[in-house]
Symmetry: C2
Subunit: 261 residues, 2 copies
């Protein structure tokens, strides 16, 4: 018995799913039925289902059954854009171009002390005062991303008071800082990691609480003309419904069939 029984059951079910014997979105036999079908105990059948669940092949719904997961048509986010641009405008342009309806919540603004990653990314001392602006973004009503931007409090002291208003900044904060204070963004750097979502993220994105859907965590640091870091934006996207795109050099426009499936 090289393979444990629950793995054999899982592999057989996976084969049936991939062969199309079990349709996308379709319901699997109940645990009791599978128990008889494979001559195993219900717990062993559940182990097999759990194995498939971890791999995102099926999902269970109490009272209803176990279902083959449907493929989500991914939303595409392009990370490369004009160096002087903020994130908001790029985001809006893309979403509108794909004829979807975006919605961004009003920001929750907080005064904080930068610690750990935040301080390191902004190149400030641990404990430095910063403004954080946190927003939720939706597309067609689906929760899409959580975004938090951090600005050194020194910008506010210099008069950039819009940063501490709990309303969206017309045209975006980056354009506001450029137009009003001459702080022009000449470049930015993104650092992309993948991690398990925390509790508030799972509840906002409505992903299963068992941590099998991970999230992209993107740190974007903006540089001004002196090479100083004047903002940090941390954006979190669920990996199950998002795809990131990067263009370098001369690239023709994306067309529909470019999307891998």
């Amino acid at each position: 018995m090289a393979e444990p029984m629950y793995r054999q059951i899982a592999d057989d079910l996976r084969r049936k799913i991939e062969a199309g014997e079990l349709q996308r979105g379709g319901r699997l036999p109940t645990e009791i039925d599978l128990r008889e079908q494979y001559d195993a105990s219900r717990n062993t059948v559940r182990d097999a289902i759990k194995w498939l669940t971890t791999r995102g092949l099926v999902e269970t719904r109490p009272g209803q059954g176990t279902f083959v997961t449907e493929r989500i048509t991914p939303f595409v986010t392009t990370l490369t854009g004009p160096p002087e641009g903020g994130d908001e405008d790029v985001y809006l342009a893309e979403v509108v171009a794909s004829s979807r309806t975006p919605y961004t919540s009003d920001p929750r603004v907080e005064m904080q002390r930068a610690t750990g990653n935040i301080a390191r990314a902004l190149h400030v001392e641990d404990g430095t005062h910063v403004v954080s602006r946190h927003q939720q973004r939706f597309i067609d009503g689906t929760p899409w991303s959580l975004q938090t931007s951090f600005y050194p409090m020194t910008l506010v002291n210099k008069g950039a008071t819009e940063l501490i208003q709990a309303t969206s900044i017309e045209g975006g904060a980056v354009a506001y800082l450029a137009a009003q204070f001459g702080i022009k963004q000449v470049g930015y750097r993104d650092s992309i990691a993948v991690r398990v979502p925390n509790e508030s993220e799972t509840s906002f994105f409505k992903v299963p609480a068992d941590g099998r859907v991970s999230v992209f965590e993107i740190y974007r640091v903006g540089f001004d003309e002196m090479g100083e870091r004047f903002r940090l934006t941390v954006t979190v996207y669920p990996t199950d419904r998002n795809r990131l795109v990067i263009n370098v050099g001369e690239t023709p426009p994306v067309d529909v069939q470019d999307e891998p499936s």
Copy 2:
């Protein structure tokens, strides 16, 4: 009883881990000990451990025990580079710069027919003949990425016979095509997704077979001066040991403390 018992146990253990009561890399009490400690059954304790395992907080080793996972110092891959550059040289430069030792296997070369994603990405008909070159890459002996490049067979017919040699191409395939055949890469596009690794990937990367560590899958399409797609490179990186970086505009060099942890 809002929270199930196994969640309460898991939360308590997580708290102890995050508070430092259980050290990184340290061993948890045995399942039997935890069973007595929390006055639960061994299976319930195991459910709690499974919950923590899915979130990457602990890992189990048969015959040894359950351990708090250690943080892996991530390797950083910069996706933005010179538009005319291949991937190999950039990769080598980065690895050498961080004083690590890279190793790339000789390629496994196959003649294939492009289907599905491959055909779509190259903008060729389904079933078109292509050359695939598959390589394994290591850093300091650790498996780091799996890479497969696809080239239309028409390039070989035009004389680019190095593509079908099962040896590394000196200076990289992109430079070879530019120097010998005038096929200059003027830009490329990366499309980044996250998915669960398949069986050969879990075994190569030595990640747990239960699918809780996912992988980056990056499709890189190269464009020539006519805007045509002449190569596709698919690279897979485990997300637990890799971080991707993108630079746009003018960005100062990375320094050590930039690394989020």
